[in-house]
Symmetry: C2
Subunit: 418 residues, 2 copies
């Protein structure tokens, strides 16, 4: 006699490299079976087989450089569709009930921002019915949605499958969302730089958000935001483990769930930065806007912005960073507007790196950043600019010192594994 109590729901997500071919898809099926055997009702969100999306995008761009985003969506969404069917078949082959769900079948209702649509609501009644009636694993196409008023296929933008998974977990009220990827969790910093870096058991949503936007390429920023808003406990774990003996991974969760919060949780870095400083800009209302509006119009993302209090009340210096690849364009935009901005000198540096320390514990601990400035100075590392927020601070330094600075801060905050 089966229990009438509903089983807990688990959402699992596998990216492109985890489903790169049929052999790997079979391995994914084993991961899913383990969780079904453990008593979960499982929805699996999958990406396109790795390389497929790039192939499809290349065809679209060949067809027209300025393509219709609605047709782009129809073409590229086909990649995820293939994976769903193949995984459903592999799951059936090992004795599970399973069926594929395309974005329009679930449905994932989105707005009509084709190519980067936002999810408005998620259906999922059919998936829940399959859980209840047949214990059927739902194999869901990530990345896709439907704009219901027009009935057209939408996509969430590159990397959107993480977002699909977290949104589904929120919609189905899942106990957890497990994101399987090619790393086995979130680390205190890049282990290639600091061999003593260690995997974190738990990270708070806010911290992960800072890490994701700072270049720890484990999770899409959007998916972390969504997880935070809907309080979806999200595990990052490796799909390349032996499915029978999976490794623990890292849980991204509310800070309340983390008993002993260290002051600093991780050190992130980004080398693709270029710094631009404008000297003696007129210190009047609206000057910052007049600098950054033309850059935004040119689709250049400005990251750090530092503006000091003016010494003489008349002029000030503004420093900001842009991605290295946009450096030349950014300088051109600024120089074109020189008359309006009225700066006396444009100084720039391309060989800069941004080092950040992230930790919710900073909120309640004074002097965390000051400690870092001293440690860096002791090693002869010059700090070009500083920005801080409630739970992180970032310093801009010469790129040559990146590894030394990361190792210094990693030790300083007690993150080196024993």
């Amino acid at each position: 006699m089966s229990s009438t109590k509903p089983r807990p729901i688990l959402v699992m997500k596998f990216g492109g490299t985890s489903v790169a071919n049929v052999e790997r898809i079979r391995n994914v099926a084993q991961h899913v079976k383990r969780e079904v055997d453990a008593g979960y009702d499982v929805a699996v969100v999958v990406s396109a087989m790795s390389g497929k999306t790039n192939e499809l995008v290349a065809w679209v761009k060949d067809a027209a450089p300025l393509y219709d985003a609605r047709e782009y969506d129809a073409v590229v969404a086909s990649g995820e569709q293939v994976t769903t069917g193949l995984l459903a078949i592999c799951l059936q082959e090992i004795g599970l009930n399973a069926r594929s769900w395309q974005g329009w079948q679930v449905p994932y209702e989105t707005d009509d921002a084709h190519g980067s649509a936002r999810i408005a609501s998620i259906g999922g009644e059919g998936i829940l019915k399959g859980f209840a009636e047949r214990r059927e694993v739902a194999v869901v196409a990530g990345f896709q949605g439907i704009h219901t008023p027009t009935g057209r296929i939408t996509t969430l933008g590159r990397g959107g499958s993480d977002t699909s998974a977290v949104a589904l977990a929120a919609g189905l009220k899942a106990e957890r969302c497990d994101i399987y990827t090619d790393v086995d969790g979130v680390y205190t910093t890049d282990p290639r730089i600091v061999p003593k870096a260690h995997r974190l058991d738990k990270v708070a949503f806010e911290e992960m958000l800072e890490m994701a936007s700072l270049g720890a390429k484990v999770l899409q920023v959007r998916s972390v935001e969504l997880a935070m808003v809907h309080n979806v406990r999200t595990f990052v774990r490796s799909s390349f483990d032996n499915p029978a003996q999976p490794m623990p991974g890292t849980l991204i969760c509310a800070e309340e769930e983390i008993m002993e919060q260290p002051v600093v949780t991780g050190i992130a870095y980004s080398k693709d930065e270029a710094q631009i400083t404008l000297r003696e800009v007129a210190d009047k209302p609206g000057v910052a806007a007049s600098v950054f509006a033309p850059l935004a119009e040119a689709n250049i993302v400005v990251d750090m912005i530092v503006q000091n209090v003016s010494a003489d009340g008349k002029t000030t210096d503004i420093t900001f960073t842009v991605p290295s690849s946009d450096y030349a364009r950014a300088v051109a935009v600024i120089e074109k507007n020189k008359d309006e901005l009225g700066y006396t000198l444009l100084q720039s540096a391309q060989d800069v790196a941004k080092i950040s320390a992230i930790g919710i514990g900073m909120r309640s601990h004074a002097g965390v950043a000051a400690k870092a400035f001293k440690a860096l100075a002791d090693r002869g590392i010059n700090i070009r600019a500083i920005t801080t927020s409630e739970i992180k601070f970032s310093v801009l330094i010469d790129v040559a010192y990146t590894e030394l600075a990361v190792r210094t801060l990693h030790s300083l905050y007690g993150l080196d594994a024993a």
Copy 2:
């Protein structure tokens, strides 16, 4: 001021080799533009890029030899989806309004015979609205449908895109359905065998049906049946022509439209035949069923069946043909049931060919077949078996005489080009 009179509707269909890459898809777009410029509202039905369906099918079979046909459909339908988006973009690029339509969007409602679904009804209101409001070319995925009660993707079976096109032409009440392929029309026979074979301007539906099922691989049999039932005038023409100067092709239409119907329209042949003869089978009711039911159960398609009137009222001989590839299995099935069938001798021949002459004019002309028997005998060709219908007759001969027999009949009925 635009006329309020609706424009005539044209359905165009392009197969896999015609859309094999973006370059060819651009060529297809030019064919479409020509017809839009000529004043038609156009719906284009497309197949998957050639090779894609085979790749997808191989993955499915790798995932599981006995796969779920519903998931097979989800996987393989993705091929057509890609082509629709790419063609829509190429059409927009040359200044036409265009959008893609998947099977579930049109919708093509089908039964749930996944992998070989039959079309129950076609929507198309959205397509007609696009014609009326924006003169928008509809780029429709062939081969696909949706089983509405379950909301799942279906496919019509291999080659189903011809059927999709003809069904759409019937549903939209199109003036014509143009099937673009890699040949420039229907010929009186295989030009590789008879250099004097010529392209037919017009063929009656019934004739084309016989030709399609007899191995002239121009059109899917199902699509010709559908065209006949709904009286859809269907053109077979070449997609490799210069779009600016297309060749005429062959029109498949009602016989009333063909003014001077020749007695014989074409000569077809099939070399993949094996013949089995059962001697002295008991001549009693139900004996034919007892021979053919076990073959049907074994999924062996029996083609020609010849049973003579019994000479002594007690026993008879039964001859039939099966595809060469099924020959060994067919013999095994028969021998297993020898006791029940009670034949005295099983004779067989694998090296046989079937030659057929097709023509609606046969209905009103006596002695058409008799003329052929004499001509073949004059050339020393032995006829092993004969079957006839209202508009065709077929003879079974040694395969070595195939070309000679085809050429003989082609000349005999005046089909050699001047």
